[in-house]
């Protein structure tokens, strides 16, 4: 299979990116600065992420479509306002997650942002639900995220009035006579924006952002940023065998949908009423040892009680951090646990997520 490239590939090369294959795409893992510096640039200033490998699915809006989508997403779409976004899941019958996604109600359509590795399968599921009508996976669009405290000012230079957007809201804007759609969102724990725009203007748009003071950031830093922010990576922290309740993402199921019917809803309802046997938690090792994915977790009596699903070093918290699933009986904050790394048991504690917290900006403030 040919490795795909995004519209920004040549620009990444120009900026000395190291590439990795990710979900069939050749993507920058880091640039010459390196992961830790790129991480800090995003936290302290502003970073640009090429996330064009993600799927951008557009579905024509109608009441009937809304009903059908509500059958596979546990989100209240009927009360979703125009330009409002919600984090949601494409649900599996067993209560598991086919994919996590952001759905935005645009004027005449829904936009759904899907994970790169899942998008073809997602498309098939949604196609089946909608009888293969009214939907379009748009491959002529790039998706750029700009994240970090200075991003608002930098993007405002390039796109006027964008800083008026509220968190998890979007709107239509223009760049070089092209219509673009921007939401105030991201996956780093920072204030930021995600911009959907035609491939043909992607490079010039990003070059403008760089000129105004932002920096290209690779997937390596994206991973340390999202993990510090306690956010899940699909295929690792959530998958077809973890439910939103087990993943501690119950908040993303709309309250008025809990007793409603959607794919997997019986399981979800049961888990909410009766509790779950395992739960996703934050984990802080007591040393700098990094507990990578699949690291086994033990209790004080040496019983295996879970597994790590993501682990790295968090530059902003200057500590080793991890997330994983742990038996519910050991999931309380500050529970002492042990991680088996290279044959040794490393002491660690269950902790609250996120590891790193910065409040999202709500609308226009302190510009």
């Amino acid at each position: 299979m040919n490795v795909k490239k995004t519209a920004l590939y040549e620009l990444h090369k120009k900026h000395k990116a190291k590439f990795v294959e990710f979900a069939g795409y050749s993507m920058p893992i880091q640039y010459s600065e390196g992961i830790v510096k790129e991480h800090n640039i995003t936290r302290n200033k502003s970073g640009i992420f090429d996330v064009s490998h993600m799927g951008q699915l557009f579905i024509k809006y109608s009441d009937d479509i809304t009903d059908k989508l509500q059958e596979i997403l546990p989100t209240d779409l009927k009360n979703l306002k125009i330009n409002q976004s919600k984090y949601s899941f494409l649900m599996k019958e067993n209560g598991g997650i086919y994919d996590d996604l952001i759905i935005t109600r645009m004027k005449d359509q829904y936009m759904i942002i899907l994970n790169a590795a899942c998008k073809q399968n997602d498309l098939q599921i949604i196609k089946n639900k909608l009888n293969n009508q009214n939907l379009d996976m748009n491959n002529d669009l790039s998706l750029i995220a700009i994240q970090g405290p200075d991003s608002k000012i930098i993007l405002e230079y390039v796109v006027s009035n964008v800083s008026k957007l509220k968190f998890m809201n979007g709107g239509n804007f223009s760049f070089a006579n092209n219509e673009i759609f921007i939401t105030r969102s991201g996956y780093t724990g920072e204030d930021g924006f995600e911009i959907s725009l035609p491939n043909k203007v992607a490079i010039s748009f990003v070059e403008e952002l760089i000129l105004k003071g932002s920096t290209l950031i690779g997937l390596g830093a994206r991973d340390t940023l999202r993990l510090e922010a306690g956010l899940c990576l699909y295929g690792h922290d959530i998958n077809e065998n973890t439910s939103p309740v087990e993943a501690n993402l119950k908040w993303a199921i709309s309250k008025n949908r809990i007793n409603d019917n959607f794919t997997g809803s019986q399981k979800i309802k049961k888990q909410i009423e009766e509790g779950v046997s395992k739960l996703r938690v934050g984990i802080k090792p007591e040393t700098r040892v990094i507990a990578r994915e699949s690291t086994k977790i033990f209790d004080e009596k040496d019983n295996e009680i879970g597994k790590v699903t993501s682990g790295t070093f968090g530059p902003s918290v200057n500590a080793s951090i991890a997330m994983g699933y742990i038996s519910n009986s050991h999931s309380k904050t500050d529970t002492k646990i042990f991680l088996e790394v290279r044959g040794k048991k490393v002491p660690a504690n269950v902790c609250d997520l996120p590891f790193y917290k910065k409040s999202y900006v709500k609308g226009e403030a302190n510009v």
């Binding site: 830790v36 991973d223 990094i290 990578r292 070093f313 080793s320």
Partner: protein, 126 residues
């Protein structure tokens, strides 16, 4: 570093009398990326040529550190454990890993000199 020798596992060793100072090469740190964790052998322990004598982890992955020769660990560099970013900053100088009292100096003959190593590093990373 004219009397410095290099291994195929990207370690360097400089001999001073009976004691060799060992670290990882600049080329290794460039391949690894930002190092965020280092584990060293225990002082007083004996290590065998090409055996594991430590671990470094970057944000991306863990890698074993091997010893290019056999001997007894007489000193370790605690400063790189406390601040592993020093390894990226000065890998072939202040960020040495450990010092060994060599068991058999002839083991050094199996290692590469600087020119040979540079060539090896270039070929293997191409």
């Amino acid at each position: 570093m004219s009397n410095t020798k290099f291994s195929k596992e990207h370690e360097w060793i400089t001999l001073d009398g009976e004691v060799g100072t060992i670290g990882i090469t600049k080329h290794a740190t460039e391949m690894l990326g930002d190092i965020v964790f280092a584990e060293l052998p225990e002082k007083g322990s004996n290590v065998e040529k090409d055996g594991t004598a430590g671990v470094v982890e970057s944000t991306k992955a863990a890698s074993d550190v091997y010893t290019p020769v056999s001997g007894e660990v007489v000193e370790i560099n605690q400063s790189i454990v406390d601040d592993p970013s020093k390894i990226n900053a000065d890998p072939e100088g202040g960020a040495w890993f450990f010092k060994l009292k060599l068991k058999d100096k002839s083991e050094l003959d199996t290692l590469m000199n600087k020119d040979e190593y540079d060539k090896f590093a270039k070929e293997t990373s191409a």
